[in-house]
Symmetry: C2
Subunit: 277 residues, 2 copies
């Protein structure tokens, strides 16, 4: 399995779903709709949707079963990027070589476009066809991942981060909430729509949590020396790399009982962690 | 039925639900949790939760059946207040005699606390007990009311409002999205958790839409002369009052087939529209 090809196929699928879910840029209020689409298209690697598709496969379902969750998780991811980029937070003017939403539009529109993306994510999952219990469980994963106990809480802790008073546990707790929680929601939510058993769900939850933290460590190794909340800054490159490898090994052990149907998920995990840029 | 007493009883019920749903202010990150609670407690009249309880009664259910939706709708309402108050939007320093969240905390915390309140609303409805299909339908009402097609879209149109180019249809379209949509979600969502039939739902949706616009007109009559997007500014006090009465009459006609179980809902509608402050 070629993880790059898998992501390209998944991106085509999720991009069509995103386009169908988002309000048309030509419908009023046009400015809001254009702002909602600005950070969604063109997208990045669509790693989270890819993980959702692969997680559905890992429990024996067709990847398409995970589509509503894949679309929703990308909307939630985009909401978090748009709000994190705001002047009152990371104050980033550019992302992926383009002006951020508050620069291309204005601050109020960026706050509101982010809000609308978050609300839309729940509409997409809840309005999808198929098993009601699965839809509710997948939407709950997403709501938890977005909220105070995960993504928002992680961002608050990250903004308050003081390297002088940090230890490994704090850094990993921020990574777990700010980065891993949405990766867990992609994987567990995708598998849930695919009909995962409770036992499979718990395996995938452990895998996602570990791979998510390792993913953030890999990111920090690429941007080494940028400071902020980073294991690389705290313990150095070699120790951070070793911790990432340890998490990867444990994550692969979590996944072992799922056998060969989980091959795409394994491949994506390795690809995400071993990439060089 | 005494609408004030009904709202007081409903406030006790929904406040207990809100307190149970919100993360403890003593748990980390304390600052986020305190900011989430800041605008929720002390609350206002808790009109939207009261409407949700009364709507459940109107379809023959116990008001308590609507509790998860009542809690969630108040969380969504609070999210919208916290974000609307931000410096990049209405830039309000005070609300109900207390500093707004971005003043009492800071702007980043206000954006994030609002986000977390919105995500929590979906967790509350989806995690509630009882019929799955009703939960999904109620959560969908809420997601639609919060999103680009309703509350957020209405706020964007309100921020872009130009009185020189306004007509009655535009003003009412903004009221319908920014104010009435969440009132509709409270009423239809509460009735949905109470097991409303499709026919009852459509009656209640029409009632909520009309009462919601009339409610905004009543608000503008109290704040007469403040300008902005207001029918009072556009057509004058008398014509605005007449339009409010017309909407109320139509709304009561929508509700007529529901008979005496809808008395509490009628009473709350009249109370909300005829209040003087």
């Amino acid at each position: 399995m070629d993880p790059r090809g898998y992501l390209v196929d998944g991106a085509a699928l999720v991009d069509a779903g995103l386009d169908a879910a988002l309000p048309a840029a030509s419908a009023p209020p046009e400015r809001l709709h254009a702002a909602m689409r600005h950070q969604v298209f063109p997208g990045g690697k669509r790693l989270r949707p890819g993980l959702a598709f692969a997680a559905a496969e890992a429990v024996g379902a067709a990847p398409e079963e995970a589509l509503p969750l894949a679309v929703a998780v990308e909307l939630v991811h985009t909401w978090s990027l748009v709000h994190d980029d705001l002047p009152c937070m990371d104050d980033d003017d550019e992302r992926r070589g383009r002006p951020t939403v508050h620069v291309a539009f204005d601050e109020a529109t960026a706050v509101l476009a982010g809000d609308a993306l978050l609300a839309l994510a729940f509409e997409v999952v809840l309005a999808s066809e198929g098993n009601l219990a699965r839809r509710v469980a997948a939407a709950r994963e997403l709501a938890h991942a977005a909220g105070a106990g995960a993504l928002v809480g992680g961002q608050v802790s990250d903004l308050a981060f003081d390297p002088e008073r940090a230890d490994v546990a704090l850094v990993e707790s921020i990574h777990a909430r700010k980065t891993a929680a949405l990766i867990v929601a992609a994987i567990v939510g995708g598998a849930t729509l695919g009909g995962a058993t409770d036992q499979q769900t718990e395996r995938l939850r452990a895998f996602g949590g570990r791979i998510g933290v390792a993913f953030q460590i890999a990111d920090d190794l690429i941007d080494a020396g940028e400071g902020g909340c980073s294991l690389v800054t705290l313990v150095g490159e070699d120790a951070a790399r070793a911790r990432g490898e340890e998490l990867l090994e444990q994550a692969l052990a979590d996944l072992a009982p799922l056998g060969s149907p989980a091959d795409a998920l394994r491949g994506l995990g390795l690809f995400a962690l071993r990439r060089k840029e």
